[in-house]
Amino acid sequence: MSLLSISGLDVHYGGIQALRGVSLRVEEGEIVALLGGNGAGKTTTLRAVSGLARASRGEIALDGASLRKRSPDAIVRLGIGHAPEGRRVFGGMTVRENLDLGAYAVRSRSAFAQRLEYVLATFPRLHERLEQAAGTLSGGEQQMLAIGRALMSGPRLLMLDEPSLGLAPVLVQTIFRVIAEINAHGTTVLLVEQNARQALRIASRGYVLDTGRVAFEGTGANLLADPAVADAYLGSA
């Protein structure tokens, strides 16, 4: 059974249909890339999984159990972490408070200490800035905090929405390396990216969305090699 399976998903915002029958699956242990241009429905897909956007049709299931009627906070407790588009760190709070909030659903002190140690080992920069207000961090540091915060709940599936957006090239490399490490450590990853080539290099499989539909799907290598995908979505490089 797939860890996450989405089938025939429709999402509407007011009168606008953002997703049209999207189906995809994420197997335990994979990194799956979700690609596509602006407005293709990548963010909406993640928001629907998290319960922030309501599906008008279709099914979303974690380990076969439906998420569609669940509230966002219940979905976090079921094991889905989500670092949203635009990082959305709590700017007025310290890095430590942000990480504490990430573990809001974690009641066990020892589990909390373990998660914190893991996150700070993964992002040593956050360790140096624990008492600093999150709003004063650089963009790269805020992205690390957003990912670290999502990891604090100990998710089985980590969803990352454009983690490389707006970062300097050297930081982009770091972020992709860290995503691969997190995955190697046992966390399944659903990765939304505009930086398609980089994402496909670390992904086992990928989906390309176009105006709310899945246009292509395949292994990372196949998508990278497909001239139709390369033409339309990977840019010439």
Binding site: P72, V76, G92, Y104, G135, A150
Partner: protein
């Protein structure tokens, strides 16, 4: 000089009541962006509940010793609890379904809830001011030649203790942190696993309980209450919240004390008929020259 100090102390006493009410306005605004115009009436409800509890306890006059502590304590906590529950019910019944509606809809609803509460209280206690038993012995202490009544000490002391407790709660507890997170970014808070419905309900519970404390305090202080008290006091407390920077707890407290002091001095120097003019002139000046308030964020946190 003595008159100056006496008016200052009056102003601080009055201001501590405004500050307690202003906290509820600012907490609710901070978390759901709603000016809860029914909040002033929850404050009146607090004095009515206190009155009812004292009536049940048979406390009609000055109390001493254990009876004072027990009866006053029951009236205070009872009023706070009942107001808190009223606040939660108001949110659940009137505001929750409108949370994602255009802003005008919940605002109009809040005014409607205000009318409902005012009329219900008018039915309950009648259209005239109602006497509130003078339960507190009231010897005056003379400090530097100025007589300060025990009531004033109690009013200000209770208000400050309540505000300190609120600060500790908001900054030192898990639920307090969830409230701040929800106020800053509702979606991100949900992604942390925070149940925002519960968090918003707790915010209404606490804000309304503070209004209940203010209702008790004002009854003890003025020895009178009236179904329509909350209208004026609510508007002034709202002014205090805006002056301090709406959404900001410390600002609401500061604004409350400032508005109390301004009202007291305006009454002394210009006459009682000018006190409202002075208070609302300050609201207008604040809105024109410092719309984010004295302690409000000058940079928006939400980008």
């Amino acid at each position: 000089m003595h008159e100056f100090l006496a008016q200052l102390i009056n102003g601080i006493s009055l201001g501590s009541i405004y500050a307690l009410i202003a906290l509820g306005y600012t907490m609710v605004y901070g978390i759901i962006g709603l000016i809860n115009f029914a909040h002033g009436d929850v404050y009146t409800l607090g004095s009515f509940f206190s009155l009812a509890i004292l009536g049940l306890l048979g406390a009609t006059g000055e109390l001493h010793g254990p009876a004072l502590v027990i009866d006053a304590g029951l009236a205070l906590f009872g009023a706070a609890l009942l107001c808190g529950i009223a606040g939660v019910l108001i949110e659940r019944l009137a505001y929750r379904r409108l949370r994602n509606a255009p802003r005008l809809a919940p605002l109009i609803t809040a005014i409607g809830v205000s009318f409902i509460l005012e009329n219900a209280m008018q039915v309950w206690k009648g259209p005239s001011p109602v006497p509130f038993p003078a339960i507190l012995p009231n010897p005056a202490v003379t400090v530097a030649g100025v007589a300060i009544s025990l009531q004033q000490f109690v009013v200000v002391g209770l208000a400050i203790a309540t505000m300190l407790a609120l600060q500790l709660f908001v900054h030192g507890t898990r639920v307090g942190r969830a409230m701040r997170a929800t106020a800053q970014d509702r979606d991100a808070a949900q992604l942390m696993g925070i149940d925002i419905n519960k968090t918003i309900a707790i915010t209404f519970l606490i804000g309304s309980a503070l209004a209940g404390v203010a209702g008790f305090v004002s009854g003890v202080y003025y020895q009178s209450t009236w179904f329509f008290n909350g209208f004026g006091a609510g508007l002034k407390a709202f002014t205090a919240a805006v002056l301090g920077g709406i959404g900001n707890l410390a600002g609401a407290m500061l604004g409350g004390f400032l508005i109390g002091i301004v009202e007291s001095f305006a009454t002394w120097l210009l006459g009682g008929q000018w006190s409202n003019v002075a208070v609302f002139a300050i609201l207008i000046l604040a809105l024109v020259f410092r719309p984010s308030g004295l302690l409000g964020e000058t940079l928006p946190e939400k980008v």
